[in-house]
């Protein structure tokens, strides 16, 4: 993978995740008890031997920058190559700094792309899939098939649900050529869902983006991929390992709870290599005499006096005596006071649930509490 660089668009308008993406791009959303979504993307790239990665930031990128800046944790703090945070504005755009579509986002970082020493771009147009892979097989396929563009596609782990609105589905013929790309909610021609992951030659990418933007196009799929079908050699690479979409709140909730399954957790956290993330200095989790815990993931810094079941606790969560937590995702530094009851709830960071309060969502409609709330 010496000749490949990675390019990640860290967010667009991810309305479906509601409060989780109000203050941060989807790439910075906490997941699996101690990670952020982008950890999976960066770790996959690094574990595949890709050491030059550009991350295009979006509106609220403070938390993303806090998390990845420097790149040390992913071994991307390097003199040559390494991690590049590419702010959403650029001397080349005439807009007020924000891109509205994926093609525009790429257009804003053309100078980074041109400077890359590597000739092939591994492009992630979004960060809405959790998967753990080594791209070498896909890259071999891309090279040996002579494709101009190779799209990765698969059938995500949460496949029983219908495709979501923003999702791109694809049809592939016997030769592996992509014959159609269509929005998930329109009509059903195949079960294959795009992983938003592409191999494409750097110069071709620059040319296609130039051309697209000149004609007023903004979206990578609508304005670049679809018009290219039939004209360019666009191949599909079928991804067989587990993957989870997190593009809606419900999917995010289910993907999170899937981590409680040891087999799924192992394959997502160490399937093709470990997932790296930022290390915090936390004391080990502490359980008191009165604590109860079952089928849960608990991070360092937690202090558990109450009862936890089927839940994920991020670091520094406090659960007081008598509190009951079931089927919940409790993010960093939240406090659950004595005798509070939570079921099917997602608490964002630094929330406080007061003594004795009770919140109950359903499996398909978890309740979500915005960052910093006191209930």
């Amino acid at each position: 993978m010496k000749d490949v660089f990675g390019l990640i668009i860290s967010g667009t308008e991810d309305q479906e995740l509601r409060d989780l993406t109000m203050m941060r791009s989807i790439a910075a959303v906490p997941i699996a008890g101690r990670y952020r979504v982008i950890d999976f993307y960066l770790s996959n790239l690094v574990n595949s031997g890709i050491h030059n990665v550009g991350v295009i930031t979006y509106r609220n990128y403070h938390s993303l920058m806090d998390h990845i800046s420097g790149g040390v944790e992913w071994d991307l703090s390097r003199k040559r190559d390494g991690l590049f945070i590419l702010p959403p504005m650029s001397q080349h755009t005439n807009h007020n700094g924000f891109y509205s579509g994926t093609a525009e986002a790429i257009n804003g970082v053309k100078s980074y792309i041109s400077r890359c020493a590597q000739n092939t771009c591994l492009l992630h147009t979004n960060c809405r899939t959790i998967f753990n892979t080594n791209y070498s097989q896909a890259y071999e396929y891309h090279k040996s098939s002579g494709a101009d563009i190779t799209m990765m596609y698969g059938i995500p782990g949460n496949k029983t649900e219908p495709p979501s609105k923003g999702e791109a589905m694809i049809s592939v013929d016997e030769s592996g050529a992509v014959t159609d790309v269509f929005p998930g909610r329109t009509y059903k021609k195949s079960d294959y869902i795009s992983m938003d992951t592409y191999f494409i030659n750097k110069d071709l990418l620059l040319r296609l983006v130039d051309d697209c933007v000149m004609r007023g196009g903004t979206d990578f799929i609508r304005d670049i991929i679809i018009p290219s079908l039939g004209k360019l050699n666009v191949k599909g690479f079928y991804y067989t390992e587990p993957s989870y979409k997190i593009d809606t709140l419900e999917r995010y909730f289910k993907a999170s709870l899937a981590f409680l399954d040891t087999g799924i957790r192992n394959s997502l956290i160490d399937g093709s290599g470990p997932v790296y993330t930022k290390v915090k200095d936390e004391v080990p989790a502490r359980y008191s005499k009165s604590s109860r815990v079952a089928n849960s993931l608990v991070s360092d810094g937690c202090y558990i006096e109450g009862s936890i079941e089927n839940s994920l606790l991020f670091r520094g969560v406090q659960v007081a005596r008598g509190a009951v937590i079931k089927n919940c995702i409790i993010m960093q530094e939240s406090q659950i006071q004595a005798n509070a009851v939570l079921e099917n709830v997602i608490l964002d960071k630094k929330c406080t649930i007061l003594r004795g309060r009770r919140m109950v969502g359903t499996e398909n409609h978890p309740m979500i509490v915005a960052k910093g709330s006191t209930i």
Binding site: G33, P274, V283, P284, S296, L297, I308
Partner: protein
């Protein structure tokens, strides 16, 4: 022009780094084997021994330095330094990866004349006089890497400055009945040390030396050089340097420290210090936001407690999998407690597995060990702790006697290869 008028340009630095003068430099003695910890220190120096779920003993001294604003220190290693070297590495976890200063690991080395191992604590510092000199310090703080305590050294340096002392020794008041086990400082009303007794039968003082010293560097330097020339000296701070400074009539003060402090030199004291973390009443508080204890840890997922887990009064860290029962115990990263297993009053170090239905009690089990299924640890008590060494494998249904001390080799000899 004459030679005496020649001037170097400004902004000329030593070759390797922008070293600038430092008022205070710390030297941390981390070369000891800690042989009373037996199998736990067979392959690593005592300061590298895991402690408290995700720390190592040396984290306390390193974090104290960092939190005290002492950003320049040498760590003197000698015995099995590989683990410690790669653990300290750049010093980043302790915020000691400074461009100007930072942490340096100092092993013994060979000079043009000869190579010499460190012959004693004082000799270790003597051999690194050049290292210290490059920072032109006023004060040198000597620390030991094998105590568990949180201490602001900058307050002690301030005390040292105020008194205009040549040497300041940190002391703890210990119960009179235990005083005889320590090096004791006899002081006058102004905290000035007038005598020093090493483990006396009839103590005249109950102020025990903590092994933390602040020296005026010029004083220490001259006494180190004099001591090195003395062929009868055992080159030790406690036995030679301090008595010599006292005999020379220099001003030595005792600095009273009343926080938590424990020398974890024995298996029982190491176990006890770990258990102090689980005690509500202990002074050893790791949750102090102003005095973080830092450590280096790999990234692992949150620990997983299975449906049948039963956890109480314990500390559990990342990467663990708990299916059985854990009570009043500390689990380090990557430990597995299998179904039906019961772990009580014990410390289980990284990546160790406890097999199904095994019962572990009053034990320290070192890293990468495998305890088979249906193993029973008999009895035990706070004064009789069993130790299983790193990489040891204990076969199914084995019985471990209370207070047993088994290295991997011992286990193999006793039980045969599994």
């Amino acid at each position: 022009m004459k030679i005496e008028n020649l001037e170097r340009p400004v902004c000329v630095f030593p070759l390797t780094s922008n070293i600038r003068k430092k008022e205070t430099v710390a030297m941390l003695l981390a070369g000891g084997q800690g042989s009373r910890l037996g199998a736990l220190t067979a392959k690593m120096a005592k300061p590298a021994v895991p402690f408290g779920g995700k720390y190592r003993i040396i984290d306390f001294a390193l974090s104290n330095c960092s939190n005290s604003g002492i950003d320049t220190l040498g760590v003197l290693t000698q015995y099995q330094p590989l683990e410690l070297n790669s653990y300290i590495a750049t010093g980043q976890p302790w915020d000691l990866d400074r461009i100007n200063g930072g942490v340096y690991v100092l092993p013994p080395y060979m000079s043009a004349k000869a190579g010499e191992w460190y012959k004693g604590t004082a000799n270790a510092i003597f051999q690194n006089i050049n290292f210290i000199e490059q920072f032109e310090p006023e004060y040198v703080v000597i620390l030991s890497g094998d105590h568990i305590y949180k201490m602001d050294y900058s307050l002690m340096v301030d005390f040292h400055k105020e008194r205009g002392a040549d040497l300041t020794i940190a002391v703890q008041t210990v119960p009179w009945e235990e005083a005889g086990r320590f090096g004791l400082m006899v002081t006058d009303d102004n905290d000035r040390i007038i005598d020093f007794e090493e483990k006396p039968e009839n103590p005249r003082s109950n102020q025990a030396s903590m092994g933390v010293y602040v020296f005026k560097w010029e004083i220490l330097r001259s006494f180190l050089i004099a001591d090195d020339a003395d062929p009868d000296s055992s080159k030790d701070f406690g036995k030679n340097i301090i008595p010599a400074i006292l005999a020379a009539g220099k001003s030595i003060y005792a600095y009273d420290f009343d926080g938590y402090w424990k020398d974890v030199g024995t298996v029982e004291s190491l176990w006890e210090a770990n258990m102090d973390l689980l005690s509500e009443s202990s002074d050893l508080n790791l949750y102090d936001a102003d005095w973080h204890i830092y450590s280096r840890n790999p990234v692992m997922p949150p620990h997983y407690a299975a449906a049948g887990a039963d956890v109480s009064d314990s500390m559990i860290t990342e990467g663990c999998i708990v299916e059985g029962k854990v009570e009043n115990s500390i689990l380090f990263a990557g430990v597995v407690i299998s179904q039906g297993a019961q772990v009580k009053n014990s410390v289980i170090m990284p990546n160790t597995i406890i097999g199904n239905d095994s019962h572990v009690n009053y034990s320290i089990i070192a890293e990468n060990a495998i305890i088979g299924c249906d193993v029973v640890f008999e009895g035990g008590s706070p004064s009789c702790i069993s130790v299983i060494g790193p990489e040891a494998v204990i076969p199914d249904s084995a019985v471990i006697k209370e207070g047993a001390r088994l290295s991997a080799e011992d286990a193999e000899n006793l039980f045969g290869e599994v």
